[in-house]
Symmetry: C2
Subunit: 328 residues, 2 copies
């Protein structure tokens, strides 16, 4: 349906306001809908910044936001110009947001590796970015209403494994000053993009400070922790924002909250079969998405609150292990 | 569909387990389904005790549970025998659970009033109960799995106005000993009735101690407070119990929680129109059921947690007043 302009236009006729679930959209269609008078929240400006990373880097670097050095890569020459200026390793990226599970980032150490990626990904638009010395990966979830009223949740730390998000910890174990800086950066970014709804701002904390990684113009995995962790979840605040209703409180319900993603293992075990073992872990909240298990596929997540991070992690890890038939 | 045996039986064929949303059912049909091998949770025994109050009083008084003095009322003679033995006022009740909003209890002060109710309600089966000197109305929500594993939530105090439940406060402001007694009574009752799922046990705290008022074999208005007030809501624990999964924790998320029902006023105001004003009350959670407003109709509820009861009440009352276009 997303690809049929007439169907989409007819659907929009019935809607007072429209929102999106992800940013992998046909930007021409999205723009057409806004031009036709549909109210899209977030609008084309925000969706485009999340979808087209080159465009995003261009507008945000122009406005002084901390983005890595970057360059369009139309061929080997562009890439070698970039590596001459910034050195290896170079981060090669797909310009357009990819499908979930689709690889979209390659860290290349030299010219040979770079040429191989360029050849393999010849059908995709690529860009280059300077490699960052990452201390932590952070996410700030912002909810913003039309007109600019906005709120952020506690900064989350994201732990990745094999390129996929494994664990989310809130509040991120960072200093107060960095936390405030991260939240202010996210708010300014939401203003800059006229974001409406939830905007997830992925940041790198590097040895040189905060740098913008990616944007998502929608509720985000790192915000699932808000279902139990805050009085108003990211989903509720997304809907409130899109409907231009007052935003709900985003404070933390407990001193620490941890979410662990339930990722399909090589054995092909269906975590749903182990649900009873996970539910006995008191204080862990199990969310299964009803998907068919496949190695590496995100099948659900588990959240636990705690008086401190260790307690919350311990509960979440026990429940997650139980879903995989393991005992900690 | 509830009244067509064939449709119901065909539907049950597709179900591993069935549950019910209320107890106003055709008991013959319910029994037929169990006889046909369907797994009903709660089963006929529990549903009948909630639906047929005379039957309930009989079995429970036989097992020593604290129920008021009671008698079947087939006509004036039965009633006068009862009032001679127990004096006026007498509580006249419909034997069968009525529809929501349908009057099912009459407190009569003398023979003339009694005869009037008997004449007006000639088409309903009635029973008489002794009048209680009520200090507080309490509700204990029990969740119970097949086999008997069970949990209770904090005892709730219910505040009625004009015969309808207006406000729920947890924990009920009662002594520890009474609270323990109430929870134990509710657990014993759930065992006695082989209840599976949520059983709501309505109690009167009288000057003579606890007396059983009504039973509901389902999630209950007094348990809505558990949505925000406990890690596992009554709804989740009902489903867990019915599916024979481990029950989730029922502890309190905050020292106090208050739910205020949103009742349609005489002015016919639709609270949905005032939603923005209610949502600005930070910490109050607004639930509207999408029903058309009608005087006296329950249209939603508001819950607030607090560090103490006054704080929680204050928030819930402000949000509820805002829904009615009032400002406290």
């Amino acid at each position: 349906m997303f690809s049929h302009p007439d169907t989409l236009a007819a659907f929009a006729e019935y809607c007072e306001v429209l929102t999106v679930e992800h940013e992998r959209l046909d930007l021409g269609l999205v723009q057409m809908m806004e031009d036709n008078g549909s109210i899209l929240r977030p609008g084309t400006k925000t969706i485009r910044a999340a979808f087209d990373k080159l465009h995003q880097r261009r507008i945000l670097s122009n406005r002084g936001f901390p983005v890595p050095a970057f360059s369009e890569v139309r061929g080997p020459d562009d890439l070698f110009d970039f590596s001459s200026a910034h050195g290896f390793p170079v981060v090669l990226k797909s310009v357009r947001a990819g499908l979930p599970g689709q690889r979209a980032v390659w860290i290349v150490e030299n010219r040979t590796e770079a040429l191989r990626v360029l050849a393999e990904q010849a059908d995709r638009e690529l860009m280059a970015e300077s490699f960052q010395a990452i201390v932590k990966e952070l996410v700030v979830i912002v909810a913003r209403r039309p007109g600019g009223n906005s709120r952020t949740y506690a900064v989350a730390e994201v732990i990745n494994q094999d390129g996929a998000c494994l664990e989310i910890r809130t509040p991120a174990p960072i200093g107060h000053r960095v936390a405030i800086e991260a939240r202010e950066l996210a708010l300014r970014l939401a203003d800059e993009l006229d974001a409406v709804g939830v905007l997830a701002v992925e940041l790198f904390l590097t040895t040189d400070g905060l740098i913008l990684n990616e944007l998502a113009a929608r509720p985000h995995n790192a915000g699932h922790v808000t279902i139990e962790g805050s009085p108003t979840s990211q989903f509720e605040n997304h809907v409130r924002a899109v409907l231009d209703l007052p935003l709900g409180p985003t404070w933390a319900n407990a001193p620490a909250a941890v979410t662990i993603n339930v990722i399909g293992g090589l054995e092909g075990i269906d975590p749903a079969n182990n649900l009873p073992d996970a539910l006995v872990v008191e204080g862990a909240q199990v969310h299964l998405y009803g998907k068919r298990p496949r190695p590496g596929r995100k099948l659900g997540h588990v959240t636990a609150l705690g008086d401190d991070m260790e307690q919350a992690r311990e509960l979440a890890r026990r429940a997650e292990a139980a879903l995989h038939g393991r005992r900690l």
